[in-house]
Every structure is written in C-alpha cells, then in structure tokens.
Symmetry: C2
Subunit: 276 residues, 2 copies
C-alpha cells in the first residue's frame, strides 16, 4: 500500500518551503485571532500550525521549550515568579515548573483556542498547565505586562512578528517588560533565524537596548523552524552570570545541559556580527 500523499507545506519565505507528510488532520479552525491547524505527521508526531507557520511538534518541541526557559532561569539563584507571554501550548510552563524555587508561573495567551487545542491534542506539552503554581490568563500580553511587577523572568514565546504578535517585537513592549522585572530580572524572547531574519534580529536588539543595558543572543537547533537554526534574545538590567552548576543537576532535559548553557552563547562569526 502506498503512503497517503497528503502534505502540510509551510512557505517559510516566499522562496523556501518545508513539507511534512501528514496522516490526519485533527483540527482546523479559524479562531478570533488566527488560523489554527493540528495534524498528525509521520516524522515529527503531532504538529500545531498558526497562520501557516509551524509552532510546535511532538518530536522537536523539547529544544525550543528547554532553551527558552532553562537558560534564563539558571542565571538566577532562586527564580520565584516567571511569566510566559504567548506560548499557549504550555511547553515553556512545563519546563519552568521543573525549577523547584518557582512558585508562580503565569501564562499570558491571547487565544484560548490554542490552549484548548494543546490540552486536547498535546498532553505531553500542556501537562503542567493544571499545576497549582500555573496561572493561565487569556488576555493581551501587552496589556497584562503593563500591570505586572516583580517578575524574575519574562519569556516572550511569540509567533512570528506579523499578525497578533507584531506588538511583541516593539520597543515600548520591552520598556514595559523592564518595569515588570526585578533589578536582577531577565527578559528572553524568541528572535527567529540568524540565517533568514537578520533585519529583525538587529531591530529587536535596538528595541531592547532602549530598555536594557545588557542584550545578548544565544542559539539552538530546531528542525521544524525556518533554516533549522533559531535564536533567543536575552536582556537584563545587570550583567547575567553563569549557571549555578550544583543546581542544574536536578533538571531532566533532552537538549539543555550545563555545558550547553554556556556554549549556546558562542555564536558563529556571522551571527555575532549581527549584534555589533
């Protein structure tokens, strides 16, 4: 029997595409905010797509979720209060709650339908959303951050900078995050591909610099994101410090390690030059 010839195709740019063979479409709807698709793929397990762009898959979500959370959290001695803006699949919350010092993990997702889909179709990713320490807010992240205070880490786990997430890449949002963080607090935002989105990386850095004296970048390999190579931009009011090696031993991970915590900041020459 031949395999089913159904494919999901993301046009990552107008001249570059990623195709994933799918066995089934599990959900397909237009929410108040975006188009949403959930499908079962051959190679990457279940797939969540928003406005045509891959958000997460069962098989490679661990890279993104570990790297956007553990890297900033391990730079603090005892992070207690953490927020995730976006990230409705719950994967970032799952990783954050692996840190025993955290007693409040807030998820601020504008689109409840994404969280509903995550609970239904991605149980291993959304698993921690019912933890008593997890607080889910269905609201606009920009509004929510204006009233937030005393956070140790704020993670911007957004979609691409078009559509509902556009405001999450602007300087006034970063200024608002700076007010919501403690003096030692850390902002991390997904910052797209160093191969494909160089102008965005430069402009994010300019935006963060209006609110934070220290801005750095780190990288990870994520197969289903454009180019397979992804960056995370980190900003803080004080210099960040290396992870506490003793504390790191307690966290179960598949990509992150104490050595990756440092190596992720070692940038290829062309990536380092983007920040100069």
């Amino acid at each position: 029997m031949k395999k089913r010839q159904t494919w999901f195709t993301e046009y990552q740019t107008d001249s570059l595409s990623l195709g994933l063979r799918i066995d089934d479409i599990l959900a397909s709807e237009t929410t108040e905010f975006q188009d949403m698709l959930v499908a079962q793929t051959e190679t990457f397990g279940r797939l969540l797509v928003l406005d045509g762009a891959v958000q997460t898959t069962d098989k490679d979500e661990f890279v993104y979720h570990e790297m956007i959370t553990h890297v900033p959290l391990f730079m603090l001695d005892a992070p207690k209060k953490v927020a995730v803006i976006g990230g409705g699949d719950g994967g970032a919350i799952r990783e954050i709650l692996k840190h025993p010092t955290v007693d409040e993990a807030h998820l601020v997702e504008i689109d409840q339908k994404v969280v509903d889909a995550a609970r239904k179709f991605f149980p291993a990713i959304s698993v921690a959303l019912d933890d008593p320490k997890a607080h889910v807010h269905y609201t606009d992240g920009i509004e929510w951050v204006r009233n937030a205070r005393d956070f140790d880490v704020i993670v911007v786990d957004s979609t691409d900078p078009v559509g509902p997430a556009e405001g999450l890449f602007q300087a006034d949002f970063y200024q608002s995050i700076a007010r919501a963080l403690t003096d030692q607090g850390i902002l991390v935002a997904q910052s797209e591909s160093p191969f494909l989105h160089q102008d965005l990386i430069r402009s994010m850095k300019e935006g963060m610099k209006t609110a934070f004296p220290y801005v750095t970048l780190y990288v990870a390999a994520i197969p289903t994101y454009p180019s397979g190579f992804w960056s995370f931009m980190m900003a803080s009011k004080q210099p960040v410090k290396p992870a506490d090696r003793a504390r790191t031993a307690s966290i179960a991970t598949r990509y992150w390690t104490p050595a990756i915590q440092e190596a992720a900041f070692v940038l290829p020459r062309f990536v380092g030059e983007l920040l100069q």
Copy 2:
C-alpha cells in the same frame, strides 16, 4: 508580475521535504555515477544537487566547508598534507589552503563532472582548485586511500550513504584511512543529522572505533541540509588537543571562530547520548 512557480524539492526522508524556488535550471545531466542538477535559487543562490540531495549552495556552503576543515586542521601544530575524499565542489580545498603550513591538498573525487560543474557554475567555491598546492584525482576514494601515506588530515566530504558514497561509511575504509594518517593524524567525516540519522551516527562510530581509539562528534547549523543541524565525526589515534589560539587569528571565516572550535563539541544531551 508574479514570481516564477518553479521549485526544486528534496525529499529529505519519505515524509519530510525542503523546497527552494528556482529562477533557472543551469545544468541537468546524468553522469557516469549520479544524477546532477545545477539551479539558480531565490534564497540560497546557486544550488548543486546530486541524486536529488542538496550538496551545496552559494549562501550556506561556508558553514559546511569551514567546519569540516578548520576544526581538524587547527588541532595540529603544522598540518602539511591533507586529503579530501569526495568534495568535488572544491570548497573544502579552498578552506584547507587558507592554512599556510599546508603544502599538499589532494582532492579525490570519483565524478569529474562534479568538478567541471563546480568550475563553471560555482567559481567562488572551486576557486582554489588551480592553486599549485591542490592536486585533483578523478578516482575512487577507497582505492586511492589504500596507497596513501603520511597524511595529517583526511576529510571525508561524501554524499549520503546510498549510491556511490556507500563504501565511504564502512569500517574497512576507516581502517584504510588509519593507515594513511600519521600517528597524530585526524580523520573527519560528515556524519549527517543528529535528528534524522541516529542509526547511521551510531554505526559510523562503531566503524571508526575498529580503527581509532578516539572518536568524537561536533555539530554545526546548515539550513539546506535535512533538519538544518549537521554532525561531523572525528577520529584519531592519539587524543586531540585544543586549537592553537595564536595561529587561528590568521584565517578569514564567516562561521568558524576560535570559540566555535570548542563550542561545536558541546553536544545537546540527546546527541551526546548517541555516542554512549
């Protein structure tokens, strides 16, 4: 005017594809050994395809060619004699000849048509093939290595382990390379994607271990290769040592840096576990 709707599609596995919009097909022929395509793409400049698999593009070739050469060469004090098995585009030779101590760089390519296409369509990649220190041999790499001796570095810059390159992933080839290397000599071979080719990585390690006591792996981000995340397996008879920082300053690169030389060996947990 709408853009031309012509795409090159690589089926990287039977359920995963990469699509590149193309402006023109510059060459398309069946050589004695394989099917060959050269096309002009929108995103990655010129593209060389062998048997349906992307080999190199103008825009991301620098990553692969720098990482497969500078990493082993900088581990030796004064590499003099280097061979590349495969690599008919000439990119590895170009990088090797940036090291002033090298006085012989041998390219051993079974398919002269690949070298001809590189000279014609990829002048920036094949630029060093006419250097007096470059020696091009159109012959089977397995045969050639049997009679080779006293090499400081042998680079296996092969296609995927199906078709003409199959023998380049076998234990007896690695044993033959061990005889061709000096006591301090280093073998490096491209070893595919840690996300998609885990069985191959394990079996290459077993094969190399029959000939070399020291086998390690390092990684780099290459957008047009499957998953965007690529590995290189390194083998030696003696422990390898860190790069000489003074010497590294002299080499012009776009991906490789002295810090990448070390960070490339820091593996994500799931990759490190492949080698255990």
